[in-house]
Symmetry: D2
Subunit: 303 residues, 4 copies
């Protein structure tokens, strides 16, 4: 895709945002109370599955791994009478490759602005005064839909560098008998996690499967509320000349669409198969990190 | 309460655990698929509220505060062509006073054992090989119930040191026209957050309102699945001679009951009032911290 | 001191800097090879003392304490054949109150510039591209001189808010029979550590003893190479209208003088008394934190 | 080397320790006041050089890199009247491969004991109650000696896996006209840093040049006070069957010899060449990390 075509697509998607200049929630507005209440109807089996991967250790795709340190061990003498505790501390890069996380709308700046024209200066060393992840403090709760592209293609995973087109999204909907609609939390499986599990980690900064930028126009039309992937939704290398993360730019900066990166669907797929459908109630609960640019998350699918 | 009475209560509660010696999920077993599916029926208004407080800064009740550092600022030149990013890192003590978190079943050791006789040595400097928070990776999803003790008493909050008795839990149920039952995720409001908000933080290690240990027998009988509070459920000073955190011991170590500490219900209370009921679908999604002793969480109430 | 007087003093001290516009080492230039070699002659007893305090835990003057976590314990089974290790991790705010540290010349910006006119934009979220602590990577080695103001006054410590005048520095020199001269690393004891040890910590952000801004003109004339204190050299409240840290501004930003904050001299004082002199070889070895704004340090006095 | 030979060597070196059962300083005792004072005579040129490398970023030999985060930027509006600050935070694994650090005597446990029979249980999740790095709080100050093995061999560096024999140490002494003696802080250059600089980093856990275990008997006889290397002194793979870090065991656990790992001598070598000698005053100043298993350091050579 040429830089000019990307620019035109970006401007078109940005113009379509209907929420007004003071909006800070973006596509989350698509989740109306009615749609949320309807999504609860997806719960029939009483079964839940995690859509997150365990915190990863150092690997070629995880150069600054999060860590967990023990602060207290229960087998040691305690200064608390009558009992002893285990306690730990966590250190995590919110947007670290490979750990499951959500991007706040302040995560991306393009052309000198963040979502809805908020100036980049709204993010300082003290955090984001606007568009922080705490704007999603009440959670993202809606109908979850999983589109499984390797299933559609009959492959184990998409190879790094490959991208999902709008036509493929449509074909997956048909094949899986589901229609993505307003307020849906859409998950697109490219098989990244499965490839990592079977072949081992690689440098995802250089090669990664994801969505084609054109897919974002398709998803804007469908009015989805949030988008997640087992990759980070963007391919590497980029298919757009001179723009490294076109899907991030279109989704977060133009559309106000929260992205969920590096999820895993290996538990969800068999649950959907068992349920005979690819929809579920989805709950994403970002931590309350005031001023934060995102949060580690463990999205839960409830069937 | 004498040490001997506490010991007797402990042993009784521990004996009542029906899940067998290999169980590692404890009271979460009370959430059956049927109960979970029924809980989804609580969603009627399509409204969600957070039950967590924002990450707190340094204060008398937060001596080792969690922090959020900026890694990249969107207003700065970027090494990524065409756009710039905001990114940050978080550092958090999982069991830090005042930040909303869940305790894993490995958090407490008493009498040389953790829940269900797991030896404390299962937790090393490398983490917990058993009873870690990742055992709850699929989330805690069930019917949430809020019992509001200050409302029952007609006060703004319980004063530090005060404790909630079983009789008061029963009275709150009657007053709020709700019956706590099997598989419920119970939240007991003592007004801790409201007091902190209005009077400012104090040293909670020394004085804190919470539940009386006798309340745990009541709740064991009711077969709740998890227990949360805007305090940490335990009073300070302890009402038990020589045991500092009796509710933690009874809940986590004896009953296998996950505790949720330092939540906030100031958003939930008006939502329940508006809904005219004190029940809701509750989703708790711990981060996937393999080997972890707990996790920061943002429990979501869905009405 | 009025804002206008401070401004005049600042401009005067800045104009006096003789090192040219491309200089990045500031007053460290006063340590010539000859002076450094001569300082080695201070070593006669073959005795060394630390001028740092232990990493402090949470306290009213240490709201975001540094921490040390264990990563491995030697008593646990190891994955390394034949032996086991103890290992830990440290987390430290470089300029945290109360922990001994050195300020790099990029630490202070005043009037839109750092030392020698370097623009503040030279420090980004990725660190300082100029004036970072790595400019002192070869250490600060020279003659150390300790001036003990409580000794001069016959008190145990200066009370918070009190400040040391140039006349007192001169009087201390006379009383201690030492002349502060070019290239000296000067330490001014105000008794802060002793007060903290005896009375307990207090909120130093609000009240702190230090040097009067006029003392900086005196020390500029003496051509010292670096300045350390058991306080942070600045009083609180400030004696200058509208400028919170006047000594930091004059020293770091105007003079290019590295400051060493929150040292302790309780080991050095008896060593000097035993040696019968207040001079010694001083070695400060900042960690090699490229782009860093300072470093924790343990300055060593060698007598 | 067979396991039995290693064991015999270990036991012999351990028996030779002359300091008594309550000693906690080990070979640092070799630095007498007389030797320290004499070492100051090495300072003639008034020149200093760092023996540390900059904090490394993520690389194949640095899987959990230390990090430095900005806390405040001087270009941003400040809440302190009249000026603005740059401030940062550091996070470091003390014994992280590739970052320059010192090992405390509690770092190694072998055969169920640390140095001088101290039980491993002296190190808990709260840190080391004995043999911590704070035992070296007054710094390690003595005559530094650099032996340059690649220079002796006429190569650019020792290849990974290669080890330095006692005979080579003796030959280097002869070639460099220096005699290693009691109280010396010895540095052995194997060229690790130069290789890394020229060929790029590799997985040092698998292949690393270092000292042959037999060299430790040689150095014990010479009564050195501390030992540093641009590698970590131990080869990989180990030359001892079933013991992964034999030099660490012999040095730290048997001899009570502090090790300095991953230093760099690329600045020191030309300084020594210019000075026409391989001795200097050496100052190592560990941070005051009470209970710590080591410390990042920046050893300074003064010629």
């Amino acid at each position: 895709m040429s830089a000019a075509s990307f620019r035109a697509l970006h401007d078109q998607l940005r113009r379509q945002v209907p929420w007004g200049t003071s909006d800070r929630r973006g596509a989350l507005n698509h989740i109306t109370p009615e749609r949320l209440a309807a999504a609860a109807g997806e719960v029939r089996l009483g079964r839940t599955v995690t859509l997150a991967a365990p915190l990863a250790s150092s690997a070629p795709d995880n150069p600054e791994p999060g860590t967990r340190h023990m602060k207290r061990l229960p087998g040691e003498p305690s200064d608390v009478p009558g009992l002893s505790f285990a306690a730990d501390q966590i250190v995590m890069n919110v947007h670290g490759d490979v750990d499951s996380h959500i991007d706040a709308l302040c995560h991306v700046s393009y052309d000198g602005a963040m979502y809805n024209g908020v100036p980049p200066g709204a993010v300082t060393s003290q955090g984001a005064s606007e568009l922080s992840i705490d704007d999603a403090r009440n959670g993202i709760v809606g109908r979850g839909v999983l589109l499984d592209i390797p299933r559609l293609r009959g492959v184990r995973w998409l190879e790094p560098g490959d991208s999902v087109t709008p036509a493929e999204l449509a074909a997956a909907e048909t094949a899986q008998q589901v229609h993505v609609g307003p307020g849906d939390v859409l998950f697109v499986r490219v098989g990244h996690r499965r490839r990592r599990h079977e072949l081992g980690p690689w440098d995802v900064a250089k090669s990664r499967s994801g969505l084609h930028p054109d897919a974002m126009a398709y998803l804007a039309e469908r009015q989805i509320a949030a988008l997640g992937s087992d990759s980070n939704s963007d391919t590497a290398p980029s298919v757009v000349e001179g723009v490294a993360f076109p899907v991030h730019v279109l989704a977060i900066q133009a559309m106000g669409l929260h992205l969920l990166d590096y999820l895993q669907f290996e538990d969800l797929v068999p649950a959907c198969e068992a349920a005979g459908r690819w929809t579920f109630l989805c709950v994403v609960a970002p931590l309350r990190l005031s001023g934060g640019t995102g949060s580690p998350v463990n999205p839960i699918g409830i069937l």
